[in-house]
Symmetry: C2
Subunit: 353 residues, 2 copies
């Protein structure tokens, strides 16, 4: 059995890691020449080029990126800040980011903020210390102060999945249109004949996913000239529990129940349905429910959840592409890029027209 002391014994003796000088010596050329063939930065005669490449190949030589980055000021690593790594929304987002980054030779440094703004600010520096080339940031309440913080750094930041709560247009952003999405969700219910529509959504302090979705709901009601009922609105966490208790509260405090419920997320919707089912209210016969996100599980849930599909993977991929373009010198005017959403009808909505 091999005993690992600090680092494991490389099988077959010590690992010899060559450097550019060794290669140069073996090839009988200067290190500048080796550097040139590696980076293809200046013309080198074919003979030498071939010779050097062969030796590099033979020795499996890889230039030390630390030394290189020290000079070039570029590490080819991109920092990612998300509130919760294990949340599938952000899992998908990171997967999308990684899909383009790994293709383009970038590696991801992933961090988790817990949605806490102080943590987010700290992580901005932690990643800066690691000399990342840029950051993809998924915040919760990206206010002016935070944006200013980002602008003050010497690396670019792009917002993903969440937009800044004020100072719009000052920072590159890739999101879905939360207002429009929840507007569409609500309108979909209205189009299906519903007039008493409740809203059980995310927290007030969450700008994009909390406030904006609520706004979309209200706008849709207004457009249809449906009077807003304050007691039909509940705001809480993006959790099953919050959906359950939000619906419970609404159920207990209203003598006239809504015929439909717009929610802030699929998980909330599931909690809502769970409560309704616990008091014998049938979905969708008695009350229709629409979710938000379109998690994989929404299809497996019973009844299958109608929802608005958000393409988190795409958002990650697009944001990553934008950041890389920025890093590679493409001129970019700060803008907000909206990734389209889509209403998905499954089994939790009844047409009562």
């Amino acid at each position: 059995m091999i005993i690992q002391i600090g680092k494991p014994f490389p099988i077959g003796g010590e690992l010899i890691i060559m450097n550019i000088t060794d290669i140069a010596k073996e090839a009988g050329v200067s290190i500048s020449t080796v550097s040139r063939v590696i980076n293809n930065t200046k013309p080198v005669s074919e003979n030498i080029k071939k010779r050097v490449f062969d030796i590099i190949e033979k020795n499996n030589f890889k230039p030390n990126v630390l030394a290189r980055s020290l000079i070039t000021k570029k590490t080819n690593v991109i920092g990612v800040i998300v509130p919760d790594i294990s949340n599938s929304v952000f899992g998908l987002l990171i997967k999308g980011i990684n899909s383009v980054c790994s293709d383009r030779g970038y590696t991801l440094m992933v961090t988790e903020s817990g949605g806490d703004i102080n943590n987010e600010i700290k992580l901005l520096d932690v990643l800066a210390d690691k000399k990342i080339d840029g950051i993809l940031f998924a915040g919760v309440d990206v206010n002016n102060k935070l944006v200013a913080e980002m602008q003050s750094k010497d690396y670019p930041v792009i917002l993903v999945t969440q937009e800044a709560s004020d100072g719009d247009g000052i920072i590159n952003t890739v999101v879905h249109d939360n207002v429009k999405a929840e507007f569409d969700a609500t309108k979909f219910l209205i189009d299906n004949g519903h007039k008493q529509i409740a809203y059980i959504g995310g927290p007030k302090y969450d700008y994009s996913s909390g406030k904006k979705r609520l706004k979309g709901y209200k706008l849709a009601l207004a457009e249809a000239k449906i009077k807003l009922v304050e007691s039909y609105i509940e705001q809480g966490e993006f959790s099953f529990q919050a959906g359950y208790s939000g619906m419970k509260k609404l159920y207990e405090e209203n003598s006239i129940l809504p015929t439909a419920v717009v929610t802030g997320s699929d998980i909330i919707a599931m909690g809502v349905i769970q409560f309704l089912s616990s008091v014998g209210v049938n979905v969708p016969d008695d009350i229709s429910v629409i979710g938000f996100d379109d998690l994989e599980f929404s299809t497996y849930f019973k009844p299958e959840l109608s929802t608005v599909r958000i393409s988190y993977f795409d958002e990650g991929a697009i944001a990553a592409k934008q950041l890389i373009e920025l890093l590679e010198g493409v001129h970019v005017i700060p803008q907000t890029h909206y990734v389209p959403h889509k209403i998905i009808r499954r089994s939790t909505i009844k047409n009562i027209n």
Copy 2:
């Protein structure tokens, strides 16, 4: 509106980044002295120490980690390789890893292999090039060749969530006991009076989660002297679809149905239940089903899924702790650390005793 060209304009003019020489000059000492107070590596007079610290503070100076790492051969970044970032099992794993790493001053470089062994081997090098201090590896089929590959590197690798298929004990591993876990799951059904028990699990090429779980199932049957029925066994992907079609096949090819089904994952179990429900077979009245993993969603699923709970978060945390100890010079004998699992009874198992 600010125009971003390559990098954003830092508000308030150019960002001045100081280096250790600047600090030394301003403090009127040598750079070695500054280095000493930063790293607390040799005694420095209190006066100077204070003066230097003040200047560092005032200028918000942070030593350049690239330059430092170039010398110290340590980057304080840990590489992570998982098959699928958006899979909640690995999301939880990474969250666990991050929970201890971020506390201890390590940052995570996360990569995705797609479960492809060639990709895994490539990533081992990609991360090495990035000069990570060590790697936490969640593979799918970690064979001898792959282990040898890892042993040949100049950084330590710890296996998480999946163990090596051969050459046991040669590499540090943190997992749950797949054999025992599925054994317990099967035995739990047996204890509930079941004798006709089918198995619908993960792929054959997946050592830990495929083969080992199947083995646990078989052992439990053997122990209870229940004859193994080959047509009661289906192996496929870890997906809802695979669970569905696996159960379909089993249903169509057996005249006598099992009274219970052991599965390779919660998702598979959900697919199984979905199929059964589609042909009017009630769970758990007609057939009992047990999952594996205990995803958050298993509670929201209808009927609530009985399962075996695996603590992926803990596995990540423990593995990270072990790796960091290794990196910090603690002598560690390669061993396999088993994180305990737990049978969770919910609504998909009927006692037919």
